[in-house]
């Protein structure tokens, strides 16, 4: 198809990133990626056991994108993401206990058991929002506040899926952000599938960001979402650019989710061999680990130890969630409205 054009990938020098992050910084974010991975694996198990209800959208396979982002920019910005929100919440300081308790629907949950798997929050995480594309104007509004209050230190980060880019809300947001010079960084995590529909059957252009950004007169980047170093370096660079220019930027991170759209999706629409190959060759954690081993920052044994440590944290979180009280039914109708006397 003539509409498919080659991607231009952003590349970084891993050694430079490592020099900037330091050994401890690199290991810290490897640990966070392992926390996310273990959280998703165990969370799915809890779902299978009937402990978790609703939908379950796993971030497995996409960890390097948001981990690279937070490693580079820190947590002191506004963030908004989709229903695939466990990873960003954990990266922004939500404890595994409160995240898991939210999935279990308990009173100790991150949103008091009112949001569930698709709606996690942090002080600067506006959600966990579950209408495809509907969260993008919200993130744009956070960027508006940053500009309105003349804050020169912050940006608004908006993660969205490839399925969302055809929503009107996304295009209206890009137009407003470009028109009004809002410091918003839109990150399309192209995981190849909008539920069971391949991206090529839903989006009329490829690359997405590189093409779309032109229409709005803004900068764009494409990055390999399985490569932590490239993600880190890109977010570091883009934040600096946005703080300087006050202009929005559109990023496309190429990735592939390892699981179905949600837990109830057996993934019959994609080839098992291709998925196995992706999981073998494009696992962001394996790639990060191998790079750190090559740099002699890590050994295979140490990696196993880190993985075990994170697994135990998640298992403890499951125990915490399981033992946490259900929300008191007396609280059901509380908090529909914010208090007026504050």
């Amino acid at each position: 198809m003539s509409k498919r054009a080659p991607y231009h990938f952003f590349e970084a020098d891993p050694k430079k990133v490592l020099a900037e992050l330091g050994k401890d910084g690199a290991l810290e974010f490897l640990k966070k990626m392992l926390l996310i991975r273990n959280f998703e694996i165990r969370g799915e198990q809890a779902y299978q056991q009937g402990k978790v209800g609703g939908f379950y959208h796993s971030y497995m396979g996409q960890e390097a994108i948001q981990a690279g982002c937070i490693a580079a920019v820190g947590a002191d910005h506004w963030f908004t993401t989709t229903y695939r929100c466990h990873a960003l919440a954990l990266l922004l300081g939500v404890t595994p206990n409160e995240a898991m308790a939210e999935l279990y629907g308990r009173s100790t949950g991150n949103a008091m058991g009112r949001g569930g798997s698709m709606h996690l929050y942090a002080d600067r995480l506006l959600g966990g929002l579950a209408i495809v594309g509907g969260h993008v104007p919200i993130a744009t509004g956070a960027a508006f506040t940053i500009k309105y209050t003349k804050n020169k230190e912050m940006a608004s980060f908006c993660f969205l899926g490839d399925g969302a880019v055809v929503q009107g809300a996304v295009h209206e947001s890009l137009n407003l952000a470009a028109l009004w010079n809002l410091p918003c960084i839109y990150v399309i995590e192209n995981n190849q599938w909008g539920m069971g529909t391949a991206v090529s059957r839903a989006v009329c252009i490829e690359p997405i960001a590189e093409n779309m950004a032109k229409a709005y007169g803004i900068k764009s980047y494409t990055v390999d979402g399985s490569n932590f170093f490239n993600c880190y370096a890109l977010f570091d660079q883009v934040l600096n650019e946005v703080l300087q220019t006050g202009r929005p930027v559109l990023i496309e991170a190429i990735t592939e989710r390892f699981r179905g759209h949600s837990i109830s999706d057996p993934g019959l629409y994609r080839s098992k061999d291709e998925l196995a190959s992706t999981m073998e060759h494009k696992d962001p954690i394996t790639l990060f680990k191998n790079a750190l081993i090559a740099q002699k920052i890590l050994t295979e044994e140490q990696f196993k130890e880190l993985d075990k440590e994170q697994r135990e944290i998640v298992i403890a979180a499951m125990k915490f969630a399981d033992e946490s009280p259900w929300p008191d039914q007396m609280t059901l109708e509380q908090g529909v409205f914010a208090p007026e006397d504050k």
């Binding site: 104007p137 919200i138 744009t140 508006f144 209206e172 028109l179 007026e340």
Partner: protein, 326 residues
């Protein structure tokens, strides 16, 4: 105390201006609110006074700018969103319904959404069905929204000021046909509390309940009956949600008869809810079944006689009053 005789649009403008003076986080955005001075001139002069950072013309993208304003509200600002017509809010329905009224509860109380959505609601003059819908029953169905529909300049100003100060999302319903209606109101600052209905005419034989523009027809009908010695008590709801059922119930307990008038459609409308609550609170006090006068079940027709016929009017209200008094 000084007074001034002003139109509803000026009362609204004063409310916005005073609240922008009081709180630098308050700003207004919408289509044509700034350089054009507002499609209905509610925002006249505000751009000149406050500048383009706080009086903001938007492109025609209700979903985008309503959502942007909700995001701004969640992150510390207090936006006023003008819909040129509430009918255009349907383009932004996802933002209002999935975000504005749910964010506080869904986030376990972490985020507030202090925002006012305002603009003309319901029928104007012959603008057909895509510009004439009453939205209060739609948004009133969603927990988390406050719904306000003032019927005069005094309430319009005092309630809009309270709405802007509220920490919750407010649906503020004005009316294109009444923007020019004048009233003598104080020059000093005042607030009208949210959630309080008002008995605007005392009576003893029957209670007539409505809000916004339909109150005119209610007054006309009450005047007619007064000539025959029948005294009608009229209640202006002012706030639709939360509903001031206490004021309604004490009137119905006094008159034992009640007619409900609503510009919007009859099926699952505000009157349906209000009538049910009256049944719950006043069942033993009623001497006659409740009667509703609402918009008939048609999309709004363009032609003048048809438009007049589908809306509540004085004659239909008189018929209803006579029915419950029979």
């Amino acid at each position: 105390m000084g007074t001034q005789i002003i139109e509803i649009r000026e009362a609204l403008r004063q409310a916005i201006d005073e609240e922008m003076t009081r709180d630098s986080r308050v700003f207004i955005l919408g289509e044509e609110v700034a350089e054009y001075n507002g499609a209905y001139k509610v925002t006249k002069g505000l751009l000149a006074k406050w500048g383009p950072e706080r009086v903001i013309d938007t492109p025609i993208c209700e979903n985008g700018f309503a959502g942007l304003a909700i995001g701004a509200a969640q992150t510390g600002l207090r936006p006023i969103v003008e819909f040129m017509s509430w009918n255009f809010s349907f383009v932004a329905a996802d933002q209002l319904i999935s975000n504005a009224c749910k964010a506080h509860y869904m986030s376990g109380g972490r985020f507030d959404v202090p925002i006012v959505f305002r603009g003309p609601n319901g029928a104007a003059a012959q603008v057909s069905c895509q510009h004439s819908h009453c939205v209060e029953a739609i948004y009133g169905n969603l927990p988390g929204f406050i719904v306000i529909a003032p019927g005069n300049a005094y309430d319009a100003k005092g309630l809009l000021k309270s709405a802007i100060r509220s920490n919750n999302p407010v649906i503020f319903l004005e009316n294109e046909l009444t923007y020019g209606e004048k009233m003598e109101i104080p020059t000093e600052e005042y607030l009208v509390p949210i959630g309080k209905a008002k008995v605007i005419r005392e009576g003893k034989h029957v209670t007539l309940i409505s809000y916004s523009r339909m109150l005119h027809f209610c007054r006309e009908a009450a005047d007619e009956l007064a000539k025959k010695g029948i005294s009608v008590e009229i209640i202006d709801l002012r706030t639709i949600k939360p509903l001031d059922i206490a004021t309604v119930a004490s009137s119905v307990r006094k008159t034992h008869r009640c007619v409900l008038v609503e510009e919007g459609h009859i099926f699952a409308g505000i009157s349906a809810e209000l009538g049910f609550q009256i049944m719950e609170h006043c069942f033993d006090d009623l001497d006659a079944p409740l009667v509703r006068v609402c918009q008939r079940e048609t999309p709004m027709p363009y032609s003048k006689p048809l438009e007049k016929e589908t809306l509540p009017n004085t004659q239909r209200i008189l018929n209803a009053l006579q029915e419950v008094l029979a």
